[in-house]
């Protein structure tokens, strides 16, 4: 398993009050994303465990785009990856952020 970790600063906190959400499933080509509102309002961390090695740069790009788009300030995001494609990762992250905005 490869472990990756990214830390970002955002210009705002993610709206909404939901403390926690989970989306997706650990299965082939899929992943689960756990989001917890536990960080200071303009911080966001993304930790990943993936069985597919050597895609650090892709993860970095996917996470950076997601952070730029969703501004998920305050979230600790943890991912269990089952070998998902980057587009699936993006989709799950956005789904997760939407769940937290309720």
């Amino acid at each position: 398993m490869e472990k990756l970790s990214f830390r970002h600063t955002t210009s705002r906190a993610l709206p909404g009050a939901k403390a926690q959400a989970i989306t997706g499933v650990v299965a082939s080509g899929n992943l689960e994303v756990l989001l917890e509102r536990t960080l200071p309002p303009t911080e966001c961390t993304v930790e990943i465990e993936t069985p597919i090695r050597g895609y650090g740069e892709v993860w970095e790009a996917v996470v950076a785009d997601f952070v730029a788009r969703a501004e998920p300030g305050g979230l600790r995001i943890t991912i269990n990856d089952g070998g998902a494609r980057p587009d699936t990762v993006s989709l799950r992250l956005l789904q997760g952020a939407r769940l937290m905005e309720v």
Binding site: M1, Q20, V25, V26, A27, L34
Partner: protein, 314 residues
């Protein structure tokens, strides 16, 4: 131009389409099954209680180890509920996965809920944790017996992709009542396992019509292996679960003696049948070949006409 358009509208554009049980995740099943917002998870994903063993195999873990347990309300009644996520490791029993269900059943002894609901979706034992999984299955079966003996019904709901195979099939057999949908399968040995061990002549696992005819929801319901047949929607499972709670048989000598007679009789009547269609024919189904294609409504009508498929001997 055709009626199916109306069908679709009737399925409720307003509240979104009816959610397929087969397709839904374990969490979505629980959410839809229980009264809205009533589910309280125990050992939630934030606790990160993940398998200590899968990393040895370089396999990804899930926050909930594929088993979600907790409490909630079903039409107002307090229930305990456990759901397997069939897409994670095939819903198989590992150490934590199994222990969560064991714990839930032990909690039921203390809490005396109106029922324990088990949402099966499993291929059986997780090979990477085989001894722990197998032992957990034995513990679950013993715990179910105690819960039932204490008067709490244990209702199994089976309609996921992975079905209820291996030890999952055995646990299902210890429940008070079972609800199954067409897509739900209940068996011990899987089609591929039989084919690998005994050859394609014994069982052609690629013949999916054969798989479902032999192990699928309709066959199990027709032969008494399940007590209720539900459409493949979360709403239908909810309704069926509610209906079954009040009909749970006691766990006592009389019940098991009745089950013994029921199972002995099945061997006598159908022991020489090669195919499910022969069994259905002997049960009095006029056109056995048509059974797989029957709609839920037509299948229910058939069940009523046969009369003998419902029993308390479980």
């Amino acid at each position: 131009m055709n009626e199916r358009i109306i069908d679709l509208a009737a399925r409720g554009e307003g509240r979104g389409w009816a959610t397929s049980w087969y397709e839904a995740s374990a969490r979505a099943r629980i959410d839809g099954l229980l009264d809205a917002g009533s589910f309280r998870e125990v050992i939630g994903p934030e606790q990160r209680r993940m398998s200590p063993h899968l990393p040895l195999f370089d396999l990804p873990r899930a926050f909930d180890d594929g088993m979600i347990v907790g409490s909630g309300r079903l039409d107002g009644s307090a229930v305990l509920v456990a759901a397997q996520e069939g897409r994670f490791m095939g819903g198989a029993f590992g150490e934590i996965h199994g222990a969560k269900l064991v714990g839930l059943l032990r909690a039921a002894l203390k809490l005396k809920p109106a029922a324990v609901l088990i949402l099966f979706d499993t291929g059986g034992v997780r090979l990477q944790e085989a001894n722990a999984g197998e032992t957990a299955i034995a513990e679950v079966m013993r715990a179910i017996m105690r819960v039932r003996a204490a008067g709490v019904p244990v209702i199994g709901l089976i309609g996921g992709r992975a079905g209820a195979y291996g030890g999952g099939g055995l646990i299902a057999g210890t429940c008070s009542r079972l609800v199954v949908s067409e897509g739900g399968r209940i068996s011990v040995s899987g089609p591929e396992v039989i084919e690998t061990n005994k050859g394609a002549e014994e069982f052609d696992s690629r013949d999916r019509a054969l798989v479902w005819r032999t192990m699928g929801g309709k066959h199990r319901r027709l032969t008494g292996g399940a007590d209720a047949y539900a459409d493949d929607t979360i709403e239908a499972f909810r309704q069926a679960a509610l209906d079954q709670i009040g009909r749970a048989p006691a766990f006592d000598l009389a019940t098991l003696e009745a089950e013994q007679r029921r199972l002995e009789e099945r061997l006598v009547r159908f022991g020489d049948c090669r195919d499910a269609t022969e069994i259905w024919g002997q049960l009095g189904v006029n056109d056995p070949e048509s059974v797989p294609a029957l709609t839920t409504a037509d299948f229910e009508t058939l069940l009523v006409s046969l009369g003998e498929t419902t029993h308390d001997a479980r």
